[in-house]
């Protein structure tokens, strides 16, 4: 019997038509910025072309390109993660010293008046939320969006960004605490 297992081949001339939208959508659901997503897709095709000679034909073309894009997404995450200080607007909500972990008096959640009226789905509500998410430190916004808006599984996010589950929950917690406060100031009690 002859070897019949099909070996996959690469055909870079057809990449854009076949995979550009798929890869772009993959990237944009993770980085939530179409310009960054575009750059990542471009880098993926370039890297793919460069390493085409190393392609062994074990995986399908698309799977192979997605694997490259995954690396690019991790690189992007690490880059925004290491950006320290710059435009960081991380807020502290809890005491650090004496009463560790208790609410800081000035950041205690306030009661919301008439919140039933404010919960109705409107474009104003959505744009208030968008603004609050944009105010988060980039890394928090990325993890928060993947978990809450794109509704990825915890395990998947941890694998894709190479972080631990407890790391993820700390980020989600900080993001949600800050978002609650931002929406309180700019929507519920404004």
């Amino acid at each position: 019997m002859s070897e019949t297992s099909t070996k996959h081949t690469l055909d870079p001339n057809t990449w854009i038509d076949k995979y550009a939208d798929y890869l772009f959508n993959y990237a944009v659901t993770r980085v939530n910025d179409s310009d960054i997503a575009k750059d990542l897709v471009q880098e993926t095709f370039f890297a793919g072309l460069k390493s085409a000679k190393n392609f062994e034909g074990k995986a399908a073309e698309r799977t192979w390109l997605v694997a490259i894009l995954k690396r690019k997404v991790i690189d992007h995450y690490r880059k925004i993660n290491s950006k320290k200080g710059k435009a960081e607007v991380r807020m502290n909500f809890y005491e650090n010293s004496d009463n560790e972990g208790s609410w800081l008096e000035e950041r205690v959640p306030q009661t919301w008046d008439n919140d039933a009226d404010k919960m109705i789905e409107t474009t104003e509500l959505k744009s208030a939320l968008d603004q609050c998410i944009d105010n988060l430190p980039e890394k928090y916004a990325m993890v928060f969006r993947m978990k809450t808006i794109q509704e990825f599984e915890t395990e998947e996010i941890c694998k894709e960004l190479d972080i631990t589950a407890s790391n993820l929950w700390v980020i989600i917690h900080r993001a949600r605490t800050q978002l609650r406060k931002c929406m309180e100031d700019n929507w519920f009690n404004s």
Binding site: P12, T29, Q42, F93, G101, P109, D115, Q150, T177
Partner: protein, 86 residues
């Protein structure tokens, strides 16, 4: 007994986790125990459930979006790839 006593920071972390249905039973016990002594975290929790509803609206909107590259962008990408190949 000491194991049951958690700070507000920990309590609200558990509360956030439970918004995704991912808090463990023991964590929920600790959280409810904390509510007995802390009304602020109880308030946080109630508001957090409302925030989850708001996020759901947003998530629902995003599901409907289909992200594509413009044909302009694609043409440009093709040119760049061809240049690299040459």
């Amino acid at each position: 007994m000491a194991k049951f006593i958690i700070s507000c920071d920990e309590a609200t972390t558990i509360c956030d986790k439970s918004q995704y249905g991912e808090a463990t039973f023991f964590e929920k016990v600790k959280l409810n125990f904390h509510f007995l002594i802390c009304r602020i975290c109880l308030r946080y929790t109630k508001q957090n459930a409302k925030m989850s509803k708001v996020y759901k609206m947003k998530a629902h909107d995003c599901k409907k979006e289909n992200n594509c590259l413009s044909s302009q962008d694609k043409e440009q990408l093709k040119k760049q790839l061809q240049e690299l190949e040459a």
